[in-house]
Subunit: 423 residues, 2 copies
């Protein structure tokens, strides 16, 4: 039996707003699964090799539940445009280049490497509509050690015909072929991905809903990101009272569904998510950059909804989830101002929970470094930062969330495998 | 005569919202002062050595008009607290350590180096109340190549007695002694710095106002950052209708005055600044982190006010002014949402103008790379970023604002001196 024993200052998020801390503690996994966090090394492991990281922080690695792989090359661009214009001027033309498998290979290798180096080890990710590039993306993520779900995007209307759009028939056929071709991958699995309601005909939506049911596939899409988008959806589906119903009516609305943004989801729409077990993905950078609004994260949490974080590159401008966590903190403060100081902002431990445990729940993990979880961890050396006073582990975590630290990640584990080491 | 000739893609901000671009252009300075930007090398310089940076961007370096040097060690900490609690729990104890000159030397060396490496070459900076540490700060900035103003902080009430507070007499005496001791520095000059109205007795304020007038010294302080702070000022100065009048009545209100924040400055207070030529310093990171509110930057600009940017470390969590520029963009979008989409957000060229030309104006510079300006420039190599399509210089600038780039700064000039080189 393979044992991994990591020693350091272990900080994890067992519940919203709570941090568990073990200074000079031992995080132990057997065959890739956590057996526990221990203040002293249990006798049964005496003599086993210990990776001693000294005073470094050992943290849960991140789950990024919404990002667009083919937009990686345009990170930080076109931010002066609103969502729908930005899609047409930047996102769609950039994605169109992934018809070229060589280009896809080069870009996706870089993306996968950067994810792992930044401690993101679980994803729900949009590819482009291209079957081949999607397979390449999945292969590169698998190779690099990222786990989770990737979706070939379905989009058969309202995009860029001839450049980035499928016929309904192609969309269905390519999806089936892609599902067949990707089944040997172990850590990266397929997820059905209607781009968003305006991009998919009713026929395609019905097909995807049936496919999800028949094969037990998870589904990801966008919901209530922007008011112009919502008006458009209302025109396209006059039979649906709210945006979410355009997914629900085709059977894509259950606890394996991930909906990005939900900026404008009102109490009724949020309740529909809570009742069905849908995961809401808060993408604070993107929402701010594209001026979409500020998602009511506090309300979502108070109501008992499932909320995770997404970098949403390239609407978001940061791939690194430390930055996204800081952005969630800032967004919650913007929301507080917007609500005339009546809403509490997120604390650092709360935002940290969303970036780690809450996202990991979608992959079946228990919160924190719970026994039984696959080992997903990041080792962070913050010793190069100045010490204004002796810092608590919680203060150190806060500082790591806010501050960019060059080369501070010393090692990353993903699903039990050590996938990055600075040595 | 010493000539510097820089060749590259030269981008500058000659007016709010406007960019001047010279691809393969020449930026030329004689004896440290810019003579111009030229599309081809003027004949008179034929044979002179050219520093050819290829396709790299040559940009104006930054002016950071508000930051607290002694808070540098606590960057990214205590952000869950509101302003006044944060001051007592974090800022004041951290500043108190600068009673120790050795500690000051170590921290300020690091700060000065990081400023220059990030292309910040002009500052208006708060030190702590310690005379000796303030001199050390000024020396370290001067050595590293940063120019501008530093203030020994005056604070004789409402701080931490015995830990971080002066008597009125000490405050006056130490200020006079500091002014004497710092007069040989060439690029870093003194600036009077009443911390903010609640920290200074009327007697101290009157003394500082007289000193400013007698010696022609500039003044910096805080204004209308937070509503609790404003209530407090109103209690302390029932004779003053608005916060700004507590500075104006002591003669610290003219075109050499810099006021940080102005989040809650209403039309009347903004007009008082515009009429007097006071520079308003927008500190978007800090205002968001401390939940102070969102400054009405668009209104300030529309009314013809002078607006510059400040990192405000350590209320702000980023020293790098690329990040602060991005934060200003995000804050302007938060303001747009707050104003129900009725206020235009800042465009990238507008925010860039605030971070460079607008701040530089306080130091007597003309906008952009105007002839006669001292050479302040940063050379940025963005060639390691992927190219989704052939990018315009404006698109490249946008991406540099949003994206952290490791080791992308190749060289920095400050007041005509090359103060950093990656080679």
């Amino acid at each position: 039996m393979a044992v991994a024993i990591l020693k350091g200052t272990i900080v994890s998020a067992p519940a919203l707003g709570k941090l568990d801390v073990a200074e000079n503690g031992y995080l132990i996994a057997e065959d890739g699964r956590i057996t526990g966090v221990f203040p002293v090394l249990p006798e049964q492991y005496a003599g086993a090799p210990v990776e001693d990281f000294g005073d470094a922080l050992i943290l849960q690695s991140f789950a990024d539940l919404h990002l667009h792989a083919p937009q990686y090359p345009m990170l930080g661009m076109g931010m002066d445009l609103p969502l729908l214009d930005w899609l047409n001027a930047y996102a769609f033309p950039t994605e169109a280049r992934f018809a070229d498998p060589d280009y896809a290979r080069e870009i996706y290798q870089g993306l996968a490497r950067e994810l792992v180096e930044n401690g993101t080890t679980r994803v729900c990710m949009f590819s482009s509509l291209h079957r081949q590039a999607t397979l390449i993306l999945m292969e590169e993520l698998e190779k690099a050690g990222v786990t989770g779900y990737v979706g070939k995007v379905n989009m058969d209307r309202n995009a860029l015909p001839g450049v980035l759009e499928e016929t309904t028939e192609d969309s269905m056929g390519e999806t089936l072929r892609w599902l067949e071709e990707c089944q040997d991958l172990r850590h990266i699995k397929p997820m059905l991905t209607p781009r968003f309601t305006p991009s998919c005909t009713d026929g395609l939506m019905a097909f995807l809903g049936r496919l999800a049911a028949e094969r037990g596939l998870p589904v990801q899409s966008h919901l209530s990101e922007n008011r112009a988008e919502m008006d458009w959806v209302r025109e396209l589906h006059p039979d649906c009272r709210q945006y979410w119903e355009t997914y629900a009516k085709y059977g894509m609305w259950n606890d394996r569904t991930v909906m990005a943004h939900c900026v404008w989801s009102d109490q009724r729409e949020r309740q529909a998510m809570r009742d069905a077990g849908v995961t809401m993905v808060h993408c604070p950078d993107s929402n701010q950059n594209l001026c979409s609004g500020v998602a009511p994260v506090r309300a979502m949490l108070n109501e008992g909804g499932k909320v995770a974080l997404g970098s949403d590159i390239a609407g978001g401008d940061h791939l690194c989830m430390f930055d996204v966590t800081a952005a969630a903190l800032r967004a919650s403060k913007a929301r507080r101002v917007l609500d005339n100081w009546e809403t509490d902002f997120l604390t650092v431990p709360e935002a940290w929970f969303l970036a780690t445990s809450s996202g990991a729940a979608f992959f079946g993990e228990q919160p924190g470094f719970a026994p039984g979880n696959p080992l997903h961890a990041i080792v962070l050396d913050d010793s190069r930062l100045p010490q204004p006073h002796p810092l608590t582990p919680a203060e150190r975590l806060e500082r790591c969330v806010y501050l960019r630290q060059k080369d501070a990640v010393r090692a990353v584990w993903s699903a039990g495998r050590k996938v990055f080491s600075a040595e």
